[in-house]
Symmetry: C2
Subunit: 200 residues, 2 copies
């Protein structure tokens, strides 16, 4: 019997997957969680064999949950996401995830992936994997990513500078470099592009 923990902030898909997995004879859904923090706490208590984690969740995202669980438990983590980009896949694998499944795939595949991962194997969506092999890594430096992240919601340069403890001029300089590298005109366009590519 494979004991599974499910975490997704969208109740409808979480309950639908749970209902489908309960139909499988060799799979038992032992927990359902609505956010990342809850997933970590519950996993440490019930010690599931496999965690199926949505990437986009409040408080802690799927990658952060995977990182934490891998430090303390033997649980195998599968990350499921709506925005499956090479950059996201990279981050997921770097965090120690055993599986990566985009939400564009059918729900039928979920049980198969869980079995494979529970048996010690790995599963990565072949289409995204192919993209990841041929794509360019983020051309942005660490600090540039920090600045971009801090300005994700349209924050003003002053606010960004304050949260990063920098001079406003420095922030502007980093932004300028980013705009050049990404070939866009405004900070916000850069944010959208970086999010789309899975770089932040």
């Amino acid at each position: 019997m494979i004991r599974v923990l499910l975490a997704d902030d969208e109740g409808m898909i979480r309950s639908a997957l749970a209902a489908l997995l309960r139909l499988e004879p060799d799979i038992e859904v032992v927990a359902e969680c609505a956010d990342g923090a809850e997933a970590v706490a519950t996993a440490e208590r019930v010690r599931p064999d496999v965690c199926l984690l949505d990437l986009e969740m409040p408080h802690l995202d799927g990658v952060q949950v995977t990182e934490r669980l891998n430090r303390t438990l033997a649980t195998r983590c599968v990350i499921v996401t709506r925005h499956a980009r090479p950059g996201v896949l990279r981050r997921a694998l770097a965090s120690g995830a055993a599986g990566f499944l985009p939400k564009s795939r059918s729900a039928d595949e979920v049980a198969a992936v869980i079995r494979r991962v529970a048996a010690g194997g790995r599963y990565v969506d072949p289409e995204i994997a192919a993209d990841a092999l041929s794509d360019e890594r983020s051309p942005l430096t660490d600090r540039e990513l920090d600045v971009l992240r801090a300005g994700r919601r349209g924050e003003t340069t002053g606010q960004i500078a304050r949260t990063l403890s920098l001079a406003p001029g420095t922030v502007r300089n980093h932004i300028s470099a980013v705009l050049g590298k990404l070939a866009v005109d405004s900070r916000q366009q850069a944010v959208f592009l970086a999010e789309e590519r899975g770089w932040i």
Copy 2:
């Protein structure tokens, strides 16, 4: 037997809901579509009793699909969405939708809502409905919304002015009014807020 069409661009949730609905003895899933245009075309061909439409879809969103179908068919439409806000509910009902269900609800409720709507009733999520009664409508004028939409992706004022055939100063003026009304500091923060409230 209730004949149902399912439309959602996210394959996993679409197939999961289809599988669950097929377990119901009185419901038949006659079509699954991945975008709005496909949903319209298919619905006109198979004439389902009920359409379960995701709001966020490529090409045509759930509201637009509902508008079109209500002009030509007797189909009853239920709109399902991740971002359930009063503004979105308003748009959905204005388009002639018979049901409104946020994705935060459990998948169990879907079959019940479909039955209710198929029987000629309406269903609106009670929580969102309560919010909608006590909320303020968008304080923004039509033109202000146009400008906001045109700048949704961080476009520069010049670009916005060109797409709307306006003087740059005019664009800035509208933006300025929006910032005042929404009490935020930057154009992009205004975009986020308006999107969150379902105004654009």
